[in-house]
Amino acid sequence: MNTHTQLATYNFAYLDEQTKRMIRRAILKAIAIPGYQVPFASREMPMPYGWGTGGVQVTASVLGPDDTLKVIDQGADDTTNAVSIRAFFQKVANVAVTTRTADATIIQTRHRIPEETLNEGQILVYQVPIPEPLRFLEPRETETRKMHALEEYGLMHVKLYEDIARNGHIATTYAYPVKVEGRYVMDPSPTPKFDNPKMHKSQALQLFGAGREKRIYAIPPYTDVISLDFEDHPFEVQSFEEPCALCAACDVYLDEVILDDLGGRMFVCSDTDHCEKRRADGHVGPLAGETAETAP
């Protein structure tokens, strides 16, 4: 039995070339119809569904030997799943990896868009759990596809309106629906709505992969991406009352870190690369000194 030797041979970036071609076709179609969810024959990947298989398949299909890859989860390069996906591509594609946003040609992300503005030529690959923005309003795929085809988005506006009627404001904080190029309502993946404005007219190509749900969609560079709202209740992003405790950054998304069981807490940048870069540039937050050395 020579199964062992057979098992060891995988193609560059894991997927076979036929599969990559199929996925690239889906990506091209997605780029041609911004915000439209293109069905594709998603493959089983060696990591579980729901853990980034869609993003991994998209990345594997656009990745070349000369690319530099960055992988983030929750904005951070060193969260376990980001480490695992980065290690996967180092192993199966042997590509250069980086944690620096500006140096990366492809950035695979879960739940965040980097703080640093992305540039032309960069590709941001999102991992998407539920690609259908209407899914929690209408569970049936047969129905939601019809609604998109007819541009029938009244249900979504009613939902947002009901939020306002009940709470005085829209109670969606992440995966906040957007309209792409004036046509398709799209789920931006569970990024906080704080990141929505970064999608608008971004210079980078944005690709979205949902492995389990077998959908790919895209936002080409310089595309209009407008968060849904009402004239009298305009879209607003979250704001934080204090700056990052480590790098003193304002206007960035912060993670709340619990310091003790007495309500003590600090807020730090969710984007670790951005925070490190700022600290290297000499920005110092109020708690920077006492925490820098305690990380294991």
């Binding site: 024959a41 569904y49 799943n81 795929e141 904080t173 077998k214 870190v257």
Partner: protein, 371 residues
């Protein structure tokens, strides 16, 4: 003290080392051989092959060992390997009528051409723990006889002569058999693709759904027309040769459920059928599959849609255990960015609530302190 989520790399590597250790267990106990798993835990191997949709006993046994006996993990391992294999072509449909039968029973006829063969079944065993198996058990040789080369007609072929049971059903001449693993799923499905999905669906999920139909949620009045287990040839057409050649044999379990049907606007009163086919020996799965297959034909047969088991999108979308386990378990990945956003929202809403409900704040000092 602020402990950042650093060190993910070292943590993962150490966790995997520990996993390898736990998988091996006490080193003074001999390690399990793949052959032992294939030979002595054959039904586990069968289930992994069936839901992993790859017929390879060695790899299934390897996956079972590597997964520490976790079925769904083993199925996942096999699927992730299968997906990398090139597709050389499609075999011809297997002919279960020509099966080399090891077990074949019908609940609708006392006797029928080809006879009833109990074969290796748990049925009619008394479920008493056998202390002899605690040691190395010596087992008597079983009674065997020469295989019978004659075709054993399927029970549906027998009934078909009377016109009381529906045919195998026709697909348009230009119909290309779908491939669940190569094309994105679309609803409504054609029956060929639906059967593919059911054949690799989670056994427990199908069992529960099939059971629900017996308890009145879309009752389908089933009879086990026939269950047969045995080996069939896999043949592939080779264009250069102009005829089909055999690639080998696989063991399958086939179940034909016969269902009473009082007729509808679309079809006359007759017996309809549900179909189940799975790799290896897995009667429970094949039976559950045929129940669910029949129930999912409700629209086609013009029946009222009243129960979950009749809802194709519901059943098929949630039947794949590799998908299901991945998405359920992804909840343990960090979600703190989204949670932060929700925390912020709840704080705001809570503050608004307290403003409007002056003096009657719920008894929650901790939260106030936190503010």
């Amino acid at each position: 003290m602020y402990v950042a989520v650093k060190g993910g790399e070292a943590a993962i590597s150490n966790a995997h080392k520990l996993l390898a250790d736990r998988r091996r267990g006490d080193r003074s106990v001999p390690a399990m051989h793949i052959e032992q798993i294939i030979e002595q835990l054959g039904l586990a191997v069968d289930r992994i092959m069936s839901e992993g949709s790859l017929y390879d006993r060695e790899l299934a046994a390897l996956a079972f060992k590597q997964a520490r006996g976790d079925m769904i993990e083993a199925i996942f391992l096999l699927r992730a390997y299968r997906t990398t294999l090139p597709r050389f072509g499609y075999s011809n449909p297997i002919d279960t009528g020509a099966m080399l039968i090891e077990r074949r029973i019908s609940a609708t006829y006392k006797d029928l051409p080809g006879g009833q063969l109990l074969g290796p079944t748990f049925d009619y065993t008394h479920r008493l723990l056998d202390p002899e198996l605690m040691g190395s058990d010596a087992v008597e040789e079983p009674q065997t006889r020469e295989g019978n080369d004659a075709r054993t007609p399927r029970v549906s072929e027998i009934l078909a002569h009377e016109g009381l049971i529906e045919d195998d059903g026709d697909l348009p001449d230009d119909h290309q058999t779908g491939d669940l693993t190569r094309e994105p799923m679309e609803f409504p499905m054609t029956r060929d693709v639906r059967l593919q999905a059911l054949s690799r669906a989670d056994e427990g999920f199908l069992l529960a759904l099939g059971y629900s139909t017996q308890r009145g949620f879309a009752r389908s009045h089933p009879f086990a027309g026939e269950i047969r287990i045995g080996e069939v040839d896999i043949e592939i057409d080779v264009p250069e040769l102009g005829f089909a050649v055999s690639l080998g044999r696989i063991r399958v379990t086939e179940c034909q459920m016969i269902n009473q049907f009082k007729g509808s606007a679309k079809s006359p009163p007759q017996f309809t059928r549900g179909y189940g086919l799975v790799f290896g020996q897995s009667e429970r799965k094949a039976m559950a599959m045929s129940l669910v297959d029949r129930t999912l034909r409700a629209t086609e047969l013009g029946e009222d849609l009243t129960a979950p088991a009749q809802d194709e999108e519901f059943v098929i979308s949630h039947s794949d255990n590799v998908q299901a386990t991945g998405f359920v378990e992804h909840l343990k990945l960090p979600h703190y960015v989204d949670f932060q956003a929700e925390l912020d929202l709840v704080r705001r809403m809570r503050a608004e609530y307290e403003q409007t409900h002056d003096g009657e704040t719920p008894d929650d000092d901790g939260l106030e302190a936190a503010q």
